[in-house]
Amino acid sequence: MALRELKVCLLGETGVGKSSIVWRFVEDSFDPNINPTIGASFMTKTVQYQNELHKFLIWDTAGQERFRALAPMYYRGSAAAIIVYDITKEESFQTLKNWVKELRQHGPPNIVVAIAGNKCDLGDAREVTEKDAKDFADSIHAIFVETSAKNAININEVFREISQRIPVAEASGAAAGKGFKLRRQPSDTRRSCC
């Protein structure tokens, strides 16, 4: 079975639950009291997608402002970015739009973008409607899901959708139609094993 390594980075405001999403995906657990990430954390998880194995190399970045300038190191060469906001914080959704802008300007040309509205278990405190977020995601051809790392809702689905949108290996010209298309350029993260 073919194995592909996919670099994925998580971006978004501090406290929206980036690390919790990764922790849920990789370890299937949840800790309500985790400390803010410093710099970035790195984890991997391999899943099967059709007749391929996808090894996600996940760079979970720090949301704090002082680490803001480091982000390019982590989205550089990424096959996908998961931008996370907190559905109970309107401001975090505005921050997300800035991340989309930055990725457009400086990110890899055909990076797959997924938008995750986290903390959907806190519906009562909702500040961002699902429709607004969905419309925005559609307008930029991004994956959209509302997630809850706490209740394990839609976490695996985000990664599954990323797998779906990643262009088929080697045939870099054919696929990627649904991606976050800006410019085209073969990505060197997809080189297969020697």
Partner: protein, 577 residues
Amino acid sequence: MDPLENAEPQGYKWGKGTDDSASRTAWARFSSWLECVCVVTFDLEFGQAIELVYPQDVKLTEKEKTSICYLSFPDSYSGCLGDTQFSFRLRQSVGQRGSWFGSEDTYSGDAPVTLQRDLAHYFGYVYFRQVKDVSVKRGYFQKSLVFISRLPYVSLFQSLLQLVAPEFFEKLEPCLEAVCNEIDQWPAPVPGVTLNLPVMGVVMQVRIPTKNDKLGGSPLKQAHKENLLPAPVVLPTVHELDLFRCFQSLLIHIQMLWELALLGEPLVVMAPSPTTCSETVLALVSSIAPLKYCCDYRPYFTIHDSEFKEYTTRTQAPPNVILGVTNPFFIKTFQYWPHVIRLGDLKMSGDLPKQVKVKKLAKLKSLDTKPGVYTAYKTFLHKDKALIKRLLKGIQRKRPSEVQCAILRRHLLELTQSFIIPLERYLASLMPLQKSVTPWKTPPQIRPFSQEEFMKTLEHAGPQLTSVLKGDWMGLYRRFFRSPNFDGWFRLRHREMTQKLECLHLEVISEADLAAWIQDKSEVEIVDLVLKLREKLTKARRQQLPVKEEVLQKQEKHVETVICSLPEDLQAVLLRR
């Protein structure tokens, strides 16, 4: 390898406690690679000063900090503009001890002797940047990012610096904080294992050598055999330098360099830049691998060094050290040293790197002394002209540097092995016969090393069996016996043999019929036996002797059985202990 095996998280860590003890354990993984990371800057009032250090609670003495400051900047004479990378080695202050020692014997047990953690020194790996900057009073931006480690992984840490430093100079403290936290998620170095080391958005992949590696093989090939996933940055080695590049103006003297390193001769390498002097010193030290270079060496040494006085006093003979220096002032200081290598900027003669000449020491006087090897030393062995020809031809034919380096490395390895195999063989013959190890007696002694007896073995089993090099091998051995490198090698081997003997003894005892033996023995003798066996067990566990756990357990059983054979009052006494 099952790709899914790697699926588990790599050292995930959720935040760090704020109290002292928690923060120490939080840096545990970081500490298995680095002692600390320092940023050294130039302060107009104080000169060089440490601006930042991670982890903040690292235990360095004031003296160590001062030394790090001086060693992290090129001498003002070397005028390095732009980015400069080099390495230094620094003696640890007396009484200082790292926190992790003892917990990591698995590393020291399996790593080659040349890659052991240095318990008495720190290595410093420096990335220095000096650029024009009108906003600074001095007109220049001058700063160094320095990794301090116990590990002689020059290649790994210099590659890491190449990745990290340029980003750091732009993004400053948060970048450093991020990098240190990422290193703190790295798996600890384990000999024989290829590791994935994530840092700043890339994954570096490198294999840690073991003492059981087949020498002379290409480390790159070994990595491929393990069928690992493609990583963006594959480092072929943690510690090896490009010997060919380091020695390119000294190729015709390679035999002399090897002998000087082997004999631990006092040697100074004077070069125009700290990069050249530090790489040359490290190359010299590594040229006798797999033998460990047991003397002190300082890839970059300055007049501010705390050992400056100790090493340059004229009241005693020059010490057995290799020093790398850039300050021309040292020419005067070292004019009494037996061997000084003066390197200049690399010059080409035609399409070949110009080779420096051997010169008389008397000519070593003025600051503008010409490049050359200033020594009266005559090599014991003849130089390998075929090798030199091959390397020089290789340059003309534009053979890739890695291939040239491999040829040179193989030559040096074969030379060292030819030299050391007769010694190993003779040493093995000093081991008592296995059948002389019996359960009822203390293990027999290893016979003493006799130089004359060894010399007699050379006639039939000398280096001529494996090396084509002619010359005075006997003389070379005699001189080697007086060097610290022989002493270091012999002590290490002797300790290994003693442990081996102890293991054999334990095995023999565990197989012995103790019940039969104690039948006609007095109580005193039996109690004595119990105490002796117990001591042996404790020692075996404490020294982590390479003996099977079953052997130890069997012996514990023996002790219990023997105790049970004794009268009850004695049993109680022995069991209470």
